[in-house]
Amino acid sequence: MRLFVIIVLLVQLTVAQNKQLLYGFNDIPQSLLLNPGAEVKNDWYFGIPLISHIHANAGTSEATVYDIFANNDINFNTKLQNAVYSMKSNDFVTINEQVDIFSGGFAFGNSFEKNEYISFGFYQETDIITYFPKDYAILVLEGNADNINRRYNAGHLKVSGEALSVFHVGYNKKVNKAFTFGVRGKLYSSVVNINSVKNSGYFVTTPGDNNRYKHIFDLNMSLRTSGLASLLEDDNSDLPNDIDTFKKRLFFGGNLGLGLDAGFTYRLTDQWTIDGSVADIGFIRHSKDVENYGVNGRFEYEGINPFFPSLDENETADDYWSNIEDEFSELFTVDTTNTKYTTWRPVKLNASVNYAFGKNRGRDCDCLTEDLEYQNAVGLQLYSIFRPKQPQVALTAYYYRRLFKGLQVKGTYTVDSYSFYNLGLGLSSQFAGVQFYLLADNLLQYKNLYDAQNVSLQIGFNYIFNKNEN
């Protein structure tokens, strides 16, 4: 029950795609999803269906729920305005969720020590990012009266979201003692995609030539969607039907795409290791159920001259006014098209440098044949994800410790766009082949989740058969 509560909590409240706790935590087989070239520590494993990997993450780079809804003496509208003024157009909100539907892996190879490994799986992922449309918010909040000559940037509207399923197969090979590499191929099936990231244009009120003001709208806006139109058509009245549609799309009935991950590990010395990976170099081709919307054009308005409408004596003031109304509504008429389009997956880079130390020569090992493993490791990890406006980057320092044979912990300190105070703790425990892991970051923010800017939680169960565990 307790676990259930935690799962609910994490699905509701977690955020962000940086999995700094999982990266390099090679006791957990899912670390191969971050670096297909990681060193594999097991002979085979399978993830317990649906609960082998659950990841949820939500983040905001500036204002938090608490900033706006705190129960205090400050007027709500004041708090709201403060939040709007303090945020920048580069601030964003992200939601990311990932659930493993199934996964597994096994080692093989000709030599006595199997040095090749195949891993595979199927997971569902949702990824949403929206930037704060600051100029729109200011215009609605203040109006243009005190903002003559202010150019409201229509490009501040940027949002993209995708729900998809991913089937993947990875190959990993330990070439020699020092070098391991891996690649993973991915087949994406997009359930729903929404994409509005290439907007430009502006609205401005300036002193006019004929009248007090001239208003200029110059807009070049577009929103591309796939998988959405058919769901909206039935007014959401037929939920079972929609669920059927979702199921079909999850199992490769959606818009398909291909992707690639690649990574390596290189042991510089017995104790120093470097590794790196690039994930989700890939695209999705949106050809089914596509509906795109566009608003394009330029409109200038200075008012009307009703007494002497124009040089053409036959034109009445109302003809003249009607023309202006038509021009105006034409600008805001949404053009709908069904042009196919391609989206690129957000590419993620991971890299780390690691130093292992402190061999355990104590109690519970049988020291005759096996190489003793180091019990501790420290290192630095760099993470970057390419987003519509700019890459988001995070730097992590970690300490890893093997407490017992079946219990490992990792602590992290991360600096990123969200905060400078991100402490994380991960734990992997294994007993009779069943592995349970729990990774949580932003521990300091758990004191008040409403004030949390970014929370990320991962949890999972695997069945693992380890090397040298006979």
């Binding site: 729920v65 109006g143 008012g303």
Partner: protein, 179 residues
């Protein structure tokens, strides 16, 4: 079982993940008051524009159909409108401008007149609030009338000066949470 103590402790930490006092009902207090300004009518003509075949034109009238108050957002959220006029008359003649707001039945809902003396600069504001705002919102046509009251100073080809008018509407919104 010692190793599992760590797990239990971590569970307990997560259970203590807590929340400070927030009040989502505050959304009911939501209110913003943006103010927009938009150009309205203008006029900039020399005295000779008031001649038709050498005869002085003392009365010019036209109308436009307006439907912006059919939009519910405008209707519900606008609480006040000021029409601001700036006039500059360098002709030696008085003139006046009258605006009539007429509903769909042809009934005049509201009227105002701006009197502009000869050779003068003037500004004028007509405020629409409460009952006058309702009258404006009921309007379907706006009639614009420009009159030159009779005078001995009849305009001819050589009469110097211009009539200039610029104007804008200042629209006050009050947007509340209507959920």
């Amino acid at each position: 079982m010692k190793r599992y103590n760590v797990i239990i402790i971590l569970f307990m930490v997560l259970q203590y993940a807590c929340t400070k006092d927030v009040d989502f009902d505050q959304i009911n207090d939501f209110e913003i008051n943006p103010v927009f300004e938009t150009s309205f009518i203008y006029l900039d003509e020399p005295a000779s524009r008031f001649l038709d075949n050498g005869q002085e034109v003392t009365f010019t009238q036209d109308f436009i159909l307006v439907n912006f108050f059919e939009d519910e957002v405008l209707n519900d959220e606008v609480i006040r409108i000021d029409l601001n006029f700036e006039l500059n008359n360098t002709i030696s003649r008085n003139f006046n401008i009258q605006l009539d707001f007429v509903d769909q039945l042809g009934q005049v809902q509201h009227t105002f007149v701006i009197n502009q003396p000869a050779n003068s600069v003037n500004s004028f504001t007509e405020t629409f609030e409460n009952s006058t705002l309702d009258a404006l919102k009921n309007s379907y046509q706006i009639y614009f009338t420009l009159q030159l009251p009779p005078s001995n100073n009849t305009i001819n080809q050589n009469t110097p000066g211009r009539i200039q008018l610029q104007s804008f509407a200042k629209v006050y919104f009050q947007i509340k949470n209507t959920l």
